[in-house]
Symmetry: C2
Subunit: 206 residues, 2 copies
C-alpha cells in the first residue's frame, strides 16, 4: 500500500483560466499574477484594487473583471501559480534527503518577508470571515500537501518506510513549527532546527 | 536530569506596571488591558489608537501615555496578562493527559476568531518590521513555552520519560500544526487530530 493521500486531485478545483503557453492570453495572465502579488504585498488583501492591478499589469480593467470576476479568483490563480515555483518537490534519492530539502526550501521561503505578507494578508481575510478566501486557502494547501505526498510514495517504493502514513500529518509534523517561528514566536530558524524537525518526522515514520 | 529548559525567567523581561491587586491602579490596568484587547480585535495593531483606548477604558489619555509610553508596551502588558488566562498549564497526573489537555485548550482558543485576530495583527506588525512588537512576541512565546515545560518536568519526576528533552521542540511538535490549520490551511481540527498530535509527541519522547 502506498502512502495514504486523500488529498489528490486538489488541482483543478479552482476555476483557472486556461490558455496556450506563451500566447497573448498567457502573457496577460503572467502580468496579472505579478501585479496581484505586488499589490498583495503592498496593500494586503482588504485593499486589493482592480484598478491598481490593471494599471500595474498594463491591461484594461474590463479584461481583468471579465477573466477574474472576484478577488478570491485573482488570488487563487496567483497562489496556484506560485505554489509550483515557491517550493519544488525534491527527489534526492533518500527520505531524509527529501524531507531536509523540502523543509529548507520552506524555511528559505519564510525568510522572505513578501511570502509572509501574502500568507498573512490572506489569513486576515479568512479570519474576517471571507468564505471565498477561506476556500482558496484550503484548496491551495490541499494542492501543496498532495504534491508533497510523492516524497512518501517514493520512500515506500524504495522500502524505506512501510505504508501507510497519512501524508498531511507527516508534512505538518515536518513544516508547521517553521511557520510558527517565522510568523508568531519570532524564534530563529537555523540548521539545527531543520535537522531536529527532520529527525522527529523520521521517528514518526518508523 | 530534568527536562531541559533554556526558557525560564522569561517573565519579567518586559516592563510590567506593578501595583497592588484590587487598588485603583490595578483597576486602571485591567480596564486598559480590556480596551487594548477590544481595539486590537476591532482595528488591528497598525491602527491602535491611544485616544480610542483611553475612551474605551474610561481613563485620561495622559495617564495612558505616562504608564504605557509606547504601543508595544501596551500590547506586551495585554499579552502577558492574557497568557495566564488563555491556556492553563494542566496537571492531570499523566503525560498523555497533560499533553491532550494543553492541546485541547489551544484548539479551543484558536476556534475563537478574537484570538486569531490578536495573533494576526501582531504578526502583521512584526512582518512590517516593527522591532518592538517582534521582541514582545518573542518574549511572550518564551514565557508560554517555559510555563509548559513543567509538564515535562512532572513526567520526568513520575518516571514517564527519561531526560533530557528540549521543551521548546516538544511543545512545538504538539501545538504548531493546530496553529497552521486554524490560521493558514483552514483544515478542520477535530478530536482525531488532537489524538494524533499527542501520539506523535509521545513517540518523540520515548
Amino acid at each position: 500500500m502506498r502512502a495514504m493521500s486523500s488529498m489528490r486531485r486538489a488541482d483543478g478545483d479552482l476555476d483557472r483560466v486556461k490558455d496556450r503557453p506563451g500566447g497573448r492570453s498567457s502573457q496577460i495572465r503572467e502580468a496579472v499574477k505579478a501585479a496581484v502579488h505586488e499589490e498583495l504585498i503592498a496593500t494586503g488583501y482588504a485593499e486589493l484594487s482592480y484598478r491598481n492591478i490593471a494599471r500595474r499589469a498594463g491591461v484594461d480593467a474590463s479584461t481583468l473583471y471579465r477573466r477574474w470576476p472576484t478577488r478570491p479568483r485573482l488570488v487563487a490563480d496567483l497562489l496556484l501559480g506560485l505554489s509550483d515555483e515557491f517550493v519544488t518537490i525534491p527527489d534526492t534519492g533518500t527520505l531524509e534527503g527529501d524531507l531536509t530539502d523540502l523543509l529548507q526550501q520552506i524555511v528559505q521561503g519564510l525568510a522572505d518577508v513578501r511570502t509572509r505578507k501574502v500568507a498573512l494578508s490572506l489569513a486576515i481575510a479568512a479570519s474576517d470571515g471571507d468564505e471565498e478566501v477561506t476556500e482558496v486557502m484550503r484548496t491551495f494547501w490541499h494542492h501543496r500537501f498532495a504534491a508533497a505526498s510523492v516524497i512518501l510514495d517514493r520512500a515506500y517504493d524504495r522500502g524505506e518506510i512501510a505504508g501507510s502514513h497519512p501524508c498531511d500529518l507527516i508534512i505538518e509534523n515536518l513544516t508547521t513549527a517553521a511557520w510558527f517561528r517565522a510568523i508568531f514566536s519570532q524564534r530563529p530558524i537555523d540548521k539545527t532546527f531543520v535537522e531536529k524537525r527532520v529527525a522527529a518526522t523520521l521517528k514518526l515514520l518508523t
